[in-house]
Symmetry: C2
Subunit: 190 residues, 2 copies
């Protein structure tokens, strides 16, 4: 069995779900709440974080390890260019969205509006939300700048950079629409 | 010319310096202050962050892209196992230290004591420092747990997981010793 432990509010989980769908993999989803990780999740991933990918008794844990693993073992449908320098541009943008966008936008918006509410029953801090929205505008301008110069974010072809950016943005939209804890149907093949 | 733009307080810069030293590469260092990125740095890396690796007119920017690029193009001295599942364990631990340890320890200690002082002339917040030190103890226990069961952090062999952990820890020690802005001599070959 191929199992993906995920949560819809986790942009990294969305990313892995879409990668698996793009690579035409069959898998079953199991949901874990990021604000209340179960003992089962800690046994599979000591950080207590999603996504976790389980297949044939093997466990691959975390955004970085799963993304690279799926790209390495499933070579029929590639989501990174073959050239190492072009691949570096894809990875630069993956880091941009998974680290910089996460720190400047996701933590200020998604954490404030979703994690704080579901995890602790607290309301969001409007000052922090405002910082997140200002930062979001800067990131949208950068995406715009790239989109004017390239076919896709990292160059001529669709890649993991586009998937990563789309998933970060989709958690933000879902947060504002109040649907961040609902699994969207995209990226699921059963 | 092979150039690495770095700063001693950046654990990711330390990591790349050590990877390049392990792989017996010759390179020149150029320092950029993380709290005051120059226009030159923004031209090479739009995020304004170090490390940036420059060679023969090519630019590879950021921790993730540089680490994977150096491992891919320089195969004589390998810092990751060949098996994809073992590689995933190395990457799980790289993410542990670069993301989880960074968020729970580095930001609470190094940012408070170094970035705030040099960047804004502000003193550290002792409550935040205390949270960082408590979190550090949890991470040291996890390193202990791994060290009791394995030769190296990710398994039988020395890998990028050990280098990443060592660099995260070394920025913490240097911060407490007051030497975080001085380049240590380890990892430099000229």
């Amino acid at each position: 069995m191929v199992l993906l432990i995920h949560h819809p509010v986790s942009a990294a989980s969305r990313k892995v779900r879409i990668i698996m769908a793009e690579k035409r993999m069959l898998f079953v989803l199991k949901e874990e709440e990021p604000w209340k990780p179960s003992q089962d999740l800690y046994k599979l991933n000591p950080s207590g974080e999603v996504p976790v990918f389980v297949f044939d008794g093997n466990v691959i844990a975390g955004n970085y390890a799963i993304t690279e693993f799926l790209e390495e073992v499933n070579r029929e449908i590639r989501l990174m260019p073959a050239d190492p320098k072009q691949k570096a541009e894809v990875r630069r943008l993956i880091e941009w969205f998974d680290v910089k966008f996460m720190r400047e936008v996701n933590r200020n918006i998604v954490y404030e509006k979703v994690h704080k509410r579901f995890g602790f029953g607290n309301p969001p801090d409007s000052k922090i939300l405002k910082i997140g929205i200002n930062n979001l505008n800067f990131h949208l301008e950068y995406i715009d700048w790239l989109a004017e110069r390239r076919n896709y974010l990292a160059g001529d072809d669709f890649s993991l950079a586009d998937i990563t950016a789309a998933c970060r943005l989709s958690t933000i939209w879902a947060t504002f629409r109040g649907t961040a804890t609902k699994t969207p149907s995209c990226g699921i093949r059963k």
